[in-house]
Each structure stands twice: as structure tokens, then as C-alpha cells.
Assembly symmetry: C2
Homo-oligomer: 180 residues x 2
């Protein structure tokens, strides 16, 4: 067994419900599933990489060029960033901190499916976890297309020099749609 931690990238997004930004049910479930079913009590053997892709709109969002790895990193959060995904990262980083699993969280802007695949190539996680409720327009745009796209396109060179390059393993965590 290798000693490098298993690096699990979890793509997280916000709920479409208006108000104070909070994680979508599918993001939260994907994250919780990863901790409960995969990391379990083996916290030192995993590292959680939390990526939030901010869909660019008219508000002229600037990328937050920082990595967040502990609750303290959010202390100086500017008011203007609270609605732009940092609250989302804070939620997940706090949870990781509580259970003692190391993490890194960051925000990129753009089209989620492209950005996730770019970040996978750059960061080279061992696994990508994507949640999907299969509900709603944004969900469909964000996760439906994204998950299909990432399964086909996300890839990493194999860490074993004698192995063929592998497409990135992707876990799709889909709740049953209530309507199809």
C-alpha cells in the first residue's frame, strides 16, 4: 500500500434556493458520502480537494486566487466575497477540520464542465466525486452535462510509470430524480 494520501476532488456548488448562500443538497451529499463511506476513520490517508466553479455572470466576478485549508483562512473574508462561493468553501473546510482530514479548497470561474476537467489535469487527483440531484435547470446544466462530460474527458496520467494512462475515476452520486 502506498503512503501518499488518496486525493479526492469533490466539486461543490451552491443551492439554487435564494438567500444566504449554502451548499446544494447534492454537493453536501457527495461530500458526506466521501467522508462516511470512503475516508471513514482513516483520516490521515486522504486529502479532500474542494473545487467550486463560479459560473460567470454579469457581476464581473474576479477569481479568488487563494487556497483555503483551515477555518482560520476565512477570518479575513471580505464582505463582497461572501456571496461568491467563499461561504461554500468555509462550510466544507470547517467540516474537514472538525473530523481531522486535510483539505484544500479553491474557486475558479468559468463553465463548470471545462473548468473541472482543466483542474483535474492540473491537480491530478486520484478520484473525482460529483453530486447530482437530476433536478432543476441549473442542476441539469451544472451536473447533468458536467458529470457526463467529466466521465468522458477527465483524465490523469497514471502514477505508475509502467501503466497505461488512465481516465480519471469518477464517482457519480445521483439521487433519484422525482420527475424525469
Amino acid at each position: 500500500m502506498e503512503r501518499e494520501p488518496t486525493r479526492v476532488m469533490v466539486a461543490v456548488n451552491e443551492s439554487t434556493i435564494k438567500g444566504k448562500p449554502h451548499p446544494s443538497i447534492s454537493s453536501k451529499r457527495a461530500f458526506e458520502w466521501t467522508l462516511e463511506k470512503m475516508v471513514r476513520s482513516n483520516t490521515s490517508d486522504f486529502k479532500i480537494l474542494l473545487l467550486h466553479v463560479h459560473v460567470v455572470d454579469e457581476d464581473g466576478f474576479d477569481e479568488v486566487d487563494s487556497i483555503y485549508a483551515s477555518p482560520d483562512d476565512f477570518k479575513d473574508m471580505r464582505e463582497s466575497n461572501k456571496s461568491k462561493g467563499l461561504h461554500l468553501l468555509e462550510f466544507f473546510v470547517n467540516k474537514c477540520h472538525e473530523i481531522g482530514v486535510s483539505c484544500e479548497a479553491w474557486i475558479k470561474k468559468g463553465d463548470p464542465k471545462d473548468v473541472i476537467c482543466q483542474e483535474v489535469s492540473r491537480v491530478r487527483p486520484d478520484l473525482l466525486v460529483l453530486g447530482s440531484r437530476g433536478l432543476g435547470r441549473f442542476q441539469k446544466v451544472f451536473v447533468g452535462t458536467v458529470s457526463g462530460f467529466c466521465v468522458k474527458h477527465a483524465e490523469c496520467p497514471s502514477s505508475r510509470s509502467n501503466a497505461m494512462p488512465m481516465k480519471l475515476p469518477v464517482i457519480l452520486l445521483m439521487t433519484k430524480p422525482t420527475t424525469l
Copy 2:
């Protein structure tokens, strides 16, 4: 963290190379990935469920109505079953035994995509791992269609009574096809 082991179903098949039956590269890699990246040293927290679906052909194969959980279970293997998937199960059960992770292995006959989904519903694993090389006619029939079908159709009631029913999390382990 819950104490029930995480039950990971790995669908395994044989290599299409003629000769003594042995696991396909994609099956082996899916299995090894599960152990190296997920189970790691945390062997007591996982149980590996190994399903081999024997594609029915003209040889009148009878289902092997047994569960194999230790190398000893293969001692009385009949010669006639050696070419029918039992060697395959023996390989994976021995590996599990070596590293000390508990397992159950069994064979079902039929169309892999239907049988895998039926077995998922019956056995209710936490996760299904499918390998795919994206190569060859059999691979395409077995894994290409199977993985797409299972991602869409494999589902389990959630273990949490207050949660929505979830589709089964599926990991697709795809090696990059050398030709498309």
C-alpha cells in the same frame, strides 16, 4: 462515522485472450484501484463483493450457487467449473485474503448489464466499481454498455431513513482507449 463496513461491489470478467482463464486487465485494475486508493490500510472497514457475470452461450452453463469468501472455498473446485469463472473468483478472493480484507464472491449468468443491476438491488452495496478498457468487441459489449446502463439504472434505497432514495454511486475506471 458508522461502523458497518463499506461494501464495495466490483464486477469482474475474464480476459478475452484465449487460454487459461484469467482476469481482464480492466477488472484487475478496478480491483487494485479499490484496494490501493480506497481501502488502503483500513481493511477492517471494507468488504469487497466480487460479482462475475457469465455470459450465457451454447455450453449450457449452470449457475454456481455458492458464495466464496476464502481460498479454502476453492479446494473442491470441480474441473468442469475451472473454465467457468471460478478461477477468476479464486484469483480475487486470494488477493483479498492476502491483504486481510473480507470478501464475498459469486457467479451469476445472463446479460452483464441486467444482472449487475439486479444484484445491486438485491445485495445493496455502497458502491459499484466497474472497469473498462474501451477496447474490443467484448469489452464494448460488457463494459461500455454496462457502465452506461449501470450509472443510469443501478439504485439502492438509502440507508438513512430520512434521506431520498439514491442511485447507487458508481466508479468507472476507464483506461484510455488506444483507438477510438
